[in-house]
Assembly symmetry: C2
Homo-oligomer: 254 residues x 2
């Protein structure tokens, strides 16, 4: 099953969720492929790949016909594999502009390798642009991470509406798997009100498991580690373990 | 003076800084224009414009030759004016792709109205794409908001290097005015270490004033208010007042 991690709003935990959900699924024994489509290469850096060792990356696969199977690399985490990103992705929109079927290049490439994996997670730059559109077309479903702040809630409505419209137009059956609440901080009344608002509006489409603010999640990438390597007993590690269990349940119901 | 608020990393406080720095400068008696170039229209929503009342917006000015002077609207804040954004900006890259001098359209448009303002601040989507490039070309300087987390620090190095290279290539004198530390949280050692690291690396190019995490800054946009209208005695309001003073000092030294 292929899942795109999408949002319109920046800094809501797309990378943190891709890396740690992926690692939690691998810890359960699944074989997982992470595809980094963001030119910042945050997922790649979070897994310890040096900025100078990013090639061959998803940019080479999409722009230079590099064989996708050769772009897959193992990580230190058993069962977790990675296709890195690189800054070359910044020219994706310009270079693929005139190419026919430009929205489904990733879908065609991934179809060659996905049989070997139980789950594929795609970390995207902010929606919309060609990279997240490719991810959406290549995926069976998508997850929208959201921080319970006013500016991010506006973004959730927006991305779900645009993604569904786009899939209809391009004839893709990709559906919302769920909205994942991240950086939840119950110290303030406003946060509680915002969480309630999102749950009332999106109902069962919001994951039951919430990821609370936990600074260890922000520290782990500096060491090139997932939260399970960096601080396995932290609340952040526990939250992503539970999120992975709910993810598998929801996937089974697709 | 025209300033672009830029970052490669998402969710680092570009919108929060545009709105509240703008409002603080207006409170000091300056006439300020905010230009919203992000298709999320976060700055517009933060100032109370309804999502259904965004037109005419910066998209109409850039894509439909709408007269820029007529797109300027007053806000409830004395001395603070706004050009809204709209979702039409999502097609900027595609529609302006073949247009010659596409990087300097905003510069040409803004030059007609900037004499009437002391300061212009431009809120951008994540760098790089055509909107932030237009903002950079139109600006005298740029500010990079940064959260003292590993993933955001990587982004600061990245955006400064790309912006400087781009300005050289396109012959624009735009310079870095400063890196503004936002969502600083001194409860953890890692944050202190990250702040130190940014200050050591960027030295005097980092604003002395830091914006600490203050949930009132995240709540104000829900009410369509700046922090000075919503909670003028909050630490967030005080921090942006001081940042505005340092901004004026740095601007004077340009
Ligand atoms: N639950 C959490 N608690 C504390 N910090 C978090 C949490 N989740 C993410 N972070 C931190 O918040 C910042 C934003 O998260 P992240 O980079 O994963 O978001 P993103 O949506 O991928 O951002 P971008 O839009 O730049 O791709 C990062 O510095 C990350 O380390
Ligand atoms: N100092 C602060 N303390 C607490 N919350 C903050 C602070 N600054 C910004 N926020 C909140 O953090 C979130 C990210 O900030 P903001 O939206 O301004 O970032 P951005 O860089 O404009 O994001 P995007 O990449 O989506 O444009 C918002 O929900 C905002 O309300
Ligand atoms: Mg990311
Ligand atoms: Mg913004």
């Amino acid at each position: 099953m292929i899942t795109a991690i999408l949002s319109r709003k920046g800094g809501v935990g797309k990378t943190t969720t891709s890396v740690n959900l992926g690692a939690a699924l691998a810890a359960q024994g699944y074989k997982v492929l992470l595809v980094d489509l963001d030119s910042q290469a945050s997922t790649s850096l979070s897994l310890g790949v040096s900025r100078w060792a990013l090639a061959p990356s998803s940019a080479d696969v999409l722009l230079n016909s590099y064989p996708i199977a050769d772009a897959i690399r193992a990580t230190r985490v058993m069962g977790l594999y990675l296709i890195t990103a690189s800054t070359d992705l910044t020219s994706l929109d310009r270079e693929l502009g005139p190419v026919p079927r430009r929205e489904s290049l990733l879908k065609e490439e991934l179809s060659e390798v996905t049989d070997g994996f139980d789950f594929v997670l795609i970390d995207c730059p902010a929606f919309p642009s060609l990279a997240p559109v490719n991810a959406l077309m290549a995926s069976d479903c998508y997850i929208v991470p959201a921080v319970p702040h006013f500016l991010a809630i506006e973004g959730v409505r927006n991305v779900c509406a645009s993604a569904d419209r786009l899939c209809e137009r391009l004839g893709s059956p990709t559906r919302l798997l769920g909205v994942a609440l991240t950086m939840v901080d119950y110290r303030t009344r406003a946060s509680r009100v915002n969480v309630q608002q999102i749950r009332q509006e999106f109902e069962e489409r919001v994951f039951a498991i919430e990821i609370r603010t936990n600074i260890r999640l922000a520290e782990a990438p500096a060491h090139g580690q997932t939260i399970f390597e960096f601080d396995p007993k932290s609340p952040g590690a526990e939250a992503y373990r539970l999120l992975a269990e709910e993810f598998v349940l929801r996937a089974g119901l697709m």
